[in-house]
Symmetry: C2
């Protein structure tokens, strides 16, 4: 039994992230910043809101003017004026007085609460009846209630969702510093692989990996660049890899699972400036024959050729490296893991982590994870599946009904 | 107590989706099709693979030649030749014979299985020892094992993940029909709203909704077009809405929560060609004062002005309409709901569905959903939250420890 591999665990593999620097920083308009990664911490430059706002249509009052008011025993208040939207009311409201106000309007001085219009009745143009007591602060957003000046708003490394974009708009961050998107080169190899526009001759197969891996790179917020299919010989691969290293921030060679191609891949990686092979094999299944090299601070991957293996290695290993250089700090719910129950027994070899494709099904309010079994060369198993479950390094298997966490595909 | 609303339930609101047609179809390159929606069913035009492939490096054999082989009692086989990658082997393999083969190589006629190289030893250039029995079909992908010719591959209406893109590559679908991306117009209103580049005068506030809603439109795979901030008067809004209707597939007016602005919004919607107000108010909180109108087969929304209300209404109501016109068919795990336990009691009014922002926390292997309470005008509550839980129409509240489903923010 030959050992082709210098095998690392998944934790050891992921620890090599620290060898790689983050992307450079660029300044972009806020309107383009959705899903980008913030490269600077952001602090509140003012109070939000910077004045007391009504959150209802009605009347701004002193709460004390309304204490004890009911439908049978209303409070009568004199209308002092109207708080026009976007303007400072030019008067104050005292006991026994009220000010017409709309949602979003600024409370006049003296008023401390708002009575909803539904709980009032206009007697004439200058007097209203109020049917309910207002508590101080009722239906009002206080100055700084959302954020106070100098509050920390967002840390560096946060990937921006819609609400973070809204938050930055609230503070007038019209442009902001983000990390550049990594450019990831994708190189297919294999004498049996033909472009998808060709009808494969007997023994040949179309290039799936360029397409599935490009999509996964996009899903990470990075930019895929396809270098096409490179014949299985060192010279071609050396040249292409050298070009990829110049023009990209990371490169992936897929298709080199057979021993011969793996050797060519290793040769090509070794031909780069100051190369180091960081590992050669990971104790996972599928995906064991994965290679990671570094040259000029860039990660260069030799991925397995089987379609499922390449995708699983991408999700579990390559993606965390892309996120690392993208500047994303760990965020607990960025990768979504859904608790479910396993539908059947699953065996597993000790000494490796197994990733099993599963389909999810609702059952009695719980989720059932049904393994989609099949060889890692079969893409139908990925198309049928909703996500992956993990069987740990030293676990012999999982039993039916056992609790599992399903990492959903994007 | 005045009733401003003609209120529908959330189910009634969503049922109005059937009033709107799907987007037109366009043909695009596969490389651009990630996350697009397929507008045609796709069928297998050939077997995948179209030949018997090895999934290991080793020797293709007749399994019967190896029966009973062990390390102590190996089988001796004559090497007939090599299956070169991407080529049809020009010979057959019989009993007592073997063929060198790499991962992905085509099996020669006669061979029915592959013995891994690790379980063999070359005696000389023409003979190998085999140490394990092979079962027929072992380490082989049969012709059509992934898909048979004429198998249904993907239905119309499927949003394409990385694996679907790979699948389409496997069958040479270099271009494909997808639904066009909807263009969604975003109009902000309110005399108190200023562009984010301005420092708000007292009583004014920056335009958050244009930014948060644009991001959410992008997250749906649609294209946002901002029409800026339109003053609160009918003429301006009529003109802008009329332009939006001509150039977009859907329009949203946000900020019209106060009675006056709501009236102006209704007036503007009514000024469009053959307008119909489909509903005016939904029994949800936050988000009750939502308006949906139709004109020329396009949906026109009056969204509440509060930042949180606008985002919740977008996620729960507008997004399903965008998905509908985008051609997306229901897919169980497209919207991700994570089971969790509630961290505290929550009360709720009957007769409406409440959406409560929650933060998720891992606790003893389970997820705890902690409500992020706060007024719907406060964006900090959305920034702190990971998702939403729902309290049903006729539920008075939820108790601590109760099982809830959290719909995660994208």
């Amino acid at each position: 039994m030959k050992d082709f591999f210098n095998v690392v665990t998944i934790e050891q593999a992921l620890a090599f992230r620290s060898e790689f620097s983050k992307m450079k920083i660029e300044t972009i308009p806020l309107m383009d910043a959705f899903e980008r990664v913030l490269a600077e911490p952001v602090t509140a430059t003012e109070n939000l809101p910077d004045f007391r706002r009504s959150i209802m249509d009605g009347y701004a009052v002193c709460a004390a003017s309304t204490f004890g008011a009911t439908e049978g025993n209303p409070a009568f208040l004199a209308i002092k004026g109207t708080a026009h939207m976007g303007e400072t009311p030019g008067f104050t409201v005292g006991i026994g007085e009220a000010c017409r106000i709309s949602t979003g309007g600024m409370l006049p001085d003296g008023a401390d609460s708002v009575v909803m219009i539904e709980h009032t009745e206009a007697m004439d143009t200058s007097t209203i009846e109020i049917y309910r007591s207002a508590a101080p602060g009722q239906h009002v957003i206080e100055t700084g209630e959302d954020f106070f000046k100098d509050d920390s708003l967002l840390p560096e490394g946060r990937r921006l969702r819609a609400q973070e974009i809204g938050l930055l708009a609230a503070f007038g961050k019209n442009t902001l510093k983000v990390y550049r998107k990594p450019v990831v080169a994708i190189i297919s190899t294999g004498d049996e692989v033909v472009p998808i526009t060709e009808t494969p001759a007997p023994g040949k197969i179309r290039d799936i990996n360029t397409y599935s891996l490009s999509s996964m790179v996009k899903a990470c917020g990075a930019i895929p660049v396809s270098f096409g299919i490179i014949p299985d010989n060192s010279e071609n691969l050396n040249q292409t890899l050298s070009l990829a290293l110049k023009t990209s921030d990371m490169a992936m060679i897929s298709g080199g699972s057979s021993v011969g191609v793996r050797d060519v891949t290793i040769d090509a990686l070794s031909s780069l400036p100051e190369p180091r092979i960081l590992f050669h094999g990971i104790s996972i299944s599928p995906g064991k024959p994965t290679i990671l090299a570094i040259s000029q601070n860039k990660a260069l991957w030799g991925l397995p050729g089987h379609v499922v293996s390449a995708m699983v290695v991408f999700l579990k290993i390559v993606k965390p490296f892309i996120e690392h250089i993208s500047g994303i700090k760990d965020h607990p719910f960025q990768t979504i893991r859904v608790p479910a129950r396993l539908s059947r027994n699953l065996s597993s070899a000790q000494g490796r982590v197994d990733y099993v494709r599963v389909k999810l099904r609702q059952m009695n309010g719980n989720l059932l994870a049904e393994p989609v079994l099949g060889k890692s060369g079969l893409i139908n198993t990925m198309v049928k599946a909703d996500g992956l479950i993990e069987i740990g390094l030293n676990v012999e298997g999982l039993v039916q009904g056992e609790a599992v966490e399903v990492e959903l595909f994007g």
